[in-house]
């Protein structure tokens, strides 16, 4: 058996090499090790192959081969995802898109860019920045994460509050479908008739195929930007300030909250200018026309003061502003200063529940004997409790998972959701029943089957795998009631 498996592997390797070239296939187990996790280190799985296509045709040929051989495959960008979304399928193929990282075309007049999936998010803004444009979605990992990965997760970022998430900025996609067919979804203009297939694809976490070309909107850089830092002695005051800002009808580009533990980590990292003794800080950014900006900033400052801020100041210059953002955006990594590992939760709650939920989150984590750092998109009610732990201590991972599950349940209970922007991946798959009924999940499963009927494309993600809700893969496929009645057919 083992010999047969080895023989099959060797012949598959040769075929992959004939598609993408010998220098674009990895099979050495030591090399594959570097791909066993993404940004979530708690989960690991080893692929048999990593391939580096440089064209849609390469991807298509690899996918067709995988289908012929019944081998699962997973697309991967920079591997900065936080939910195990691009965790390899054991024994499968990782399709790394890092050698497809070009900006193919920029049409400034129509404000669009056509890019490849492996392009680093920030590099797109650099590429169009000289002409005064930028790409709005700015996940905190934007200096490393790829546009393709953003598509998979429908990524957000601090400026989501005003500008929306990835799907609001994607017009069209060239996609290699899970059976290898190359298709275009959407196009180069904003409106397209028929079903919004781009909207369906964005956020499908790599289970609906592999995007190989992406048409995105680029925006003109705002005329003016103002960044306000508000410092609080109590977390509740900061939470109240968030509500006060929104309640006064102000629409900042971003409202971010950072708690004390996180402030200390980022200050250790980069001396960004957050006061170490603050219980929490809010980073509020306004952008838009110069006219009226000053008055708006004044109202934000007032809202923070009214909520009990002990200090409110505006970044003096671009350098100070960049430093504050650097701290905010490096926060997750900065936990490495105070803990050997962390697991970030990605819950969404109604903004008005912030004070209550934050207190409960801190209680839950403390009850599990762990520490938590909070740094998140407060304006959106998108929480990121980061549970700090040491994987070398026996039993800690289990407690992290238990605390994480309790937090997710809490978010669901207050009427929120279990993911704002990091995707469900593998990490949160079992939490799906917290917010979706079996019928909801069955419907989603049918949508997945429409795209990915073989189940080979990024298997095991999104849908719960626990006993109660086994994934409906090809083997476990059961016809839906409407199918049995002849009202729908599987294709």
């Amino acid at each position: 058996m083992a010999a047969l498996a080895e023989f099959r592997k060797a012949s598959l390797r040769r075929e992959l090499e004939s598609i993408v070239g010998a220098s674009a296939v990895l099979t050495d187990p030591d090399e594959l090790l570097a791909y066993e996790s993404d940004g979530l280190t708690m989960l690991r799985a080893l692929a048999d192959f990593v391939v580096f296509p440089t064209s849609a045709e390469h991807v298509s040929a690899v996918v067709r081969l995988a289908n012929r051989e019944g081998v699962p495959f997973v697309a991967r960008g920079a591997g900065t995802g936080l939910s195990g979304g691009c965790l390899p399928a054991e024994g499968g193929i990782v399709v790394s898109l890092m050698r497809m990282n070009r900006v193919l075309e920029v049409d400034y007049e129509n404000q669009i860019a056509v890019v490849e999936p492996g392009l680093v998010n920030l590099h797109l803004s650099w590429a169009v920045g000289r002409r005064g444009y930028y790409y709005a979605p700015d996940p905190s990992s934007q200096q490393a994460c790829t546009v393709g990965g953003n598509i998979a997760n429908n990524s957000g970022g601090p400026h989501t509050l005003k500008y929306g998430v990835t799907t609001n900025h994607v017009l069209g996609l060239e996609v290699v479908m899970p059976d290898g067919e190359i298709v275009w979804l959407g196009g180069r203009t904003r409106a397209s008739a028929g079903y919004d297939l781009v909207g369906v694809f964005v956020g499908s976490e790599g289970t609906f195929g592999v995007a190989t070309k992406i048409v995105v909107r680029i925006l003109k850089k705002p005329q003016a930007v103002k960044t306000v830092l508000a410092v609080f002695d109590e977390i509740d005051q900061a939470s109240a300030a968030v509500s006060a800002i929104i309640a006064r009808g102000l629409v900042p580009a971003a409202v971010e909250m950072i708690d004390q533990l996180t402030i200390q980590a980022v200050e250790d990292a980069f001396d960004c200018g957050y006061p170490r003794d603050a219980a929490a800080a809010l980073l509020v950014e306004l952008d838009g026309l110069t006219v009226g900006m000053e008055a708006q900033a004044e109202r934000i400052v007032q809202a923070c003061r009214d909520s009990g801020a002990r200090e409110v100041r505006t970044a003096r210059d671009e350098a100070e502003r960049q430093l504050l953002w650097k701290g905010r955006k490096s926060a997750f990594g900065a936990y490495g200063r105070i803990s050997p590992a962390y697991m970030v939760m990605d819950g969404v709650i109604p903004r008005t529940k912030l004070p209550y939920v934050l207190r409960r989150v801190n209680d839950i984590v403390a009850a599990h004997g762990l520490r938590v750092g909070n740094v998140f998109h407060a304006g959106d009610g998108n929480l990121h409790p980061n549970i700090l732990y040491d994987p070398r201590r026996a039993g800690e991972e289990a407690r992290v998972l238990a605390a994480g599950a309790a937090i997710m349940r809490l978010c669901a209970e207050v009427g929120g959701s279990i993911s704002g922007e990091h995707g469900i991946g593998l990490e949160k798959a079992d939490f799906m029943p917290f917010i979706f009924s079996p019928d909801d999940l069955a419907l989603m499963q049918r949508l997945k089957n429409a795209f990915n009927s073989s189940g080979l494309c990024n298997p095991g993600k999104i849908f719960p795998t626990s006993k109660s809700c086994a994934e409906v893969g090809p083997a476990a496929y059961r016809p839906h009631a409407i199918e049995e009645k002849g009202l729908a057919q599987r294709f």
């Binding site: 090399e31 996790s37 990992s141 900065a334």
Partner: protein, 465 residues
């Protein structure tokens, strides 16, 4: 579909080390991946084993015994430039430079390589870098090779193609070695001009002193013009940076101890260094010798006194008068200045003080040029890719000169520009400052420098010592 996901296995407690050197720092990496796009080799290859996060992962797996040091792992670790760009962006503060040095030392222990490789290392690390006089002798021989026409024969006659990759790369990079008078030692003391600001000791460097003696002279002149009594300890040798970066840990320790001893005797306020790799390495002596009780404290104190020449000069406004240098230049950040020592604004502040000089920013100015110590000799293919990238950016600036602060970068970028057919000059920042002072002197604004250190007659004066 089988989809096994394993939980992290509990790792045996205890100090993680390679070749006896701690790699505990791997535990600071939380796998966030923010380093990926800052890594030149990852940008070129897109393979995660060639990214900082991937390499940290491999180092961790090695230290934990999860994998053995196979050829592929050694290859990925050796392909690391040790440019430390990842350290600049790492929020977790992973001491990457130390990790990769430990890994390289382990590679030397386990996989010393064939006869040629070992001979090359022995020649460089064992013979030349450990002895200033042997290095000077080698320079004399090389100078003879270059001036006799033999070098021309090797290059033009096609002999270079017969050399193994490393030697051929080395041949191409060999700078025209200056005549003996340029390579002569600096005088032991260069007195301050004007109000005395400090007494500084100068590292003249091993390679630097034979290839770029002129930069050392310029450094001493500029320091003196800025009120420094400059002392040049005669007994100094190599600081050991190349040995440490190349995995030759034992000799690196010996060279560090010798350097500390020699400079302590100079009793200076600061030790000024004009080569980036040396400066970054010497600032790390405290860590290097931390486990040696007899030396730990001395090393820490010494390391705190080390300062890069631009860092030192930028502490105060440059003393005038500076004459005009009407030229457009761009600045390339040497890795071990910008990433190794976090010196980014200082050289730019100095350049801004030179009248008539216009500075254009270089795209990816803090991106490695591929020189990286002896990397361009050991990894010529990747070094060439990075050099082409750098030259493309340099040419795009339209600058007349690239200003930088490290001999390795200067040689590499010069070779790249020559291959590209560009006439752009490559200057050490102290050369440019020295030129500005010279230009002021010619304008009659201040007295001539004199004696051995005098500009123009400097070389001849030096040759007689």
């Amino acid at each position: 579909m089988a989809h096994t996901v394993q939980a992290q296995p509990p790792v045996a407690a205890g100090r993680l080390a390679l070749h006896g050197l701690s790699v505990e720092g791997v535990n600071q990496c939380v796998h966030c991946g923010l380093c990926l796009a800052s890594c030149p080799t990852f940008a070129e290859l897109g393979t995660e084993m060639d990214s900082p996060r991937g390499r940290i992962f491999l180092i961790k797996a090695l230290a934990e015994g999860r994998i053995a040091l196979g050829a592929s792992t050694a290859g990925h670790l050796e392909l690391c430039l040790d440019c430390r760009a990842c350290e600049t962006v790492c929020p977790a503060g992973v001491p990457y430079g130390r990790l990769i040095e430990a890994a390289k030392a382990e590679i030397e222990r386990q996989r010393p390589g064939g006869v040629l490789r070992r001979a090359f290392r022995w020649l460089n690390f064992g013979l030349l870098l450990t002895s200033p006089w042997r290095l000077r002798l080698a320079a004399t021989v090389l100078r003879a090779y270059q001036t006799s026409g033999l070098g021309w024969l090797v290059r033009r006659g096609g002999l270079a193609r017969l050399l193994p990759g490393t030697l051929a790369a080395g041949e191409a990079l060999l700078p025209p070695l200056p005549p003996a008078r340029e390579r002569a030692a600096l005088p032991p003391r260069i007195p301050a001009e004007g109000a005395r600001r400090a007494r500084v000791a100068m590292l003249t460097g091993c390679i630097q002193s034979v290839v770029f003696g002129a930069h050392n002279r310029a450094t001493a002149r500029v320091l003196a013009r800025n009120g420094c009594d400059v002392v040049v300890p005669e007994a100094q040798g190599c600081c050991g940076a190349l040995n440490a970066h190349g995995g030759d840990h034992a000799r690196a320790l010996a060279l560090a101890r010798h350097t500390i001893e020699v400079f302590e005797a100079a009793a200076a306020d600061a030790v000024v260094v004009n080569t980036s790799g040396c400066g970054a390495h010497m600032k790390g002596y405290g860590h290097l010798l931390a486990d040696d009780p007899a030396w730990a404290e001395r090393a820490r104190r010494f390391a705190a006194s080390v300062v890069d020449v631009a860092e030192f000069l930028a502490q105060e406004p440059l003393r005038g008068p500076l004459g005009p240098v009407p030229m457009t230049v761009t600045y390339h950040d040497p890795c071990h200045v910008v990433h190794g020592q976090k010196i980014r604004s200082e050289p730019r502040r100095l350049l801004a003080q030179i009248p008539g000089l216009s500075v254009v920013e270089l795209v990816e100015s803090d991106w490695c040029c591929g020189s990286a110590g002896i990397y361009n000799l050991t990894q010529p293919a990747m070094a060439t890719r990075l050099l082409r990238r750098k030259i493309g950016h340099v040419v795009a600036t339209g600058a007349e000169a690239v200003v930088t602060a490290n001999p390795g970068c200067i040689l590499q970028i010069r070779a790249g520009l020559a291959a590209h057919g560009a006439t752009t000059r490559v200057l050490h920042i102290v050369e440019l400052l020295d030129q500005a002072y010279g230009s002021a002197s010619r304008g009659g604004a201040s007295g001539e420098a004199s004696g051995e250190m005098g500009r123009g007659s400097a070389s001849r004066g030096g040759a007689s010592t």
